[in-house]
Symmetry: C2
Subunit: 224 residues, 2 copies
């Protein structure tokens, strides 16, 4: 008799293309309605509803009803983290969905990975922090140095506040488009928010791509 976690169930939940597309869309970290997710998955709303019911029953989603609208989001960061991991392995194994579309350059450059910045700019930041000795890296282990803490303070990041959460401060997250690490963890999240507050970057509706202004990108590259 087999015992232990049922990875087959989890795998099959993610293994349907429509459901995978919805989960991927929710990696934006935003909550989307059933109708929006149906569009993401290119299925009818009724089909999407059935799928969302399964993902919800499996604990992968959380939902909030707002009047006639039902908003769905990934259940928690653990789910996001697993999906990231799957994306990374899929990319490493060459499981890429077909086409390099017009959006692809934008996604490769900068996008949201659930709650932190990913893409070439994010990788640049990670590498820059490491190269300048602001971030100490031993494999997956990351620690912010005194210089790094000063840099963050200068950016307006309150390390005391974000360091108190259960989430690790710094975590390396493998960037599937660049095949190198970018910064996750509570610092990664805080930085994503901060870039938007500073007006360096903004989120576009309906996509995970993050758009940096010319000035914002210049400041970003100057900083990291």
């Amino acid at each position: 008799m087999k015992e232990g976690p049922d990875i087959a169930r989890l795998g099959s939940l993610i293994g349907d293309p429509a459901r995978a597309n919805m989960l991927t869309a929710l990696m934006s970290g935003k909550a989307l309605t059933a109708s929006e997710l149906a569009l993401e998955a290119s299925v009818t709303v009724q089909t999407a509803s059935a799928h969302l019911g399964k993902l919800n029953a499996g604990g992968l989603l959380r939902q909030r009803k707002q009047g006639r609208h039902r908003y769905f989001a990934l259940a928690d960061e653990d789910v996001g983290h697993l999906l990231e991991g799957m994306m990374g392995l899929a990319a490493r194994k060459g499981h890429m969905r077909t086409t390099t579309g017009p959006r692809d350059p934008a996604m490769r450059k900068a996008r949201v990975c659930y709650n932190h910045l990913a893409g070439e700019l994010a990788v640049h930041m990670f590498d820059g922090l490491v190269a300048k000795g602001h971030l100490l890296e031993t494999g997956d282990e990351l620690e912010l140095t005194a210089g790094g803490r000063a840099l963050m303070a200068g950016l307006g990041i309150d390390l005391e506040a974000i360091g108190s959460s259960r989430r690790p401060l710094c975590r390396a997250c493998l960037d599937w488009s660049a095949r190198r690490s970018h910064l996750a963890g509570s610092l990664g999240v805080a930085l994503m928010e901060r870039f938007c507050q500073l007006g360096w970057a903004r989120r576009e509706a309906g996509t995970r791509a993050v758009v940096f202004s010319a000035r914002g990108e210049k400041e970003f590259l100057r900083t990291f």
Copy 2:
């Protein structure tokens, strides 16, 4: 047009119960024959062969032919790591396969998680190392202290040799049975091997359970 990694493909590869059972069996870190895997999955050899073909095409396996025998193993540590992560999330979400069989206590106590020790004893070791200040823990970040290095040297672990690999020295791995961390990384691997060398523990054929002798367990508990 959707672009990016195809997590649906990966999910569906893992999402079949027979294939999931085989992957789980391969978490032992050993290479198994097609016939053995067929038994693990409770399917015929021909069915197993078809499944193994798919897993192989998906890059999740590596194989080695030895005379009439074809040995299959997980492709690499990345695959093991993802499967661990899925087990952890499945456990957290309550996706548990049914029964607590006679082997369950043994599996809960000590088992192999791809290449390092897991289970209650492994969690005890992790917690002991942290409590005694041998291991510094900040979230997922782990660092061996000088005291910890001395302890390992005393155990006969050559930290220079194992520290040079690409793999992190210390990595926390969530133990699905105990719901707490155990030690992975190259140190985790080396410790697993060392326990067997010392005669404290041994592997049993056909299972991931690790059997500690009475003396071995006493030594283990005294050490950690």
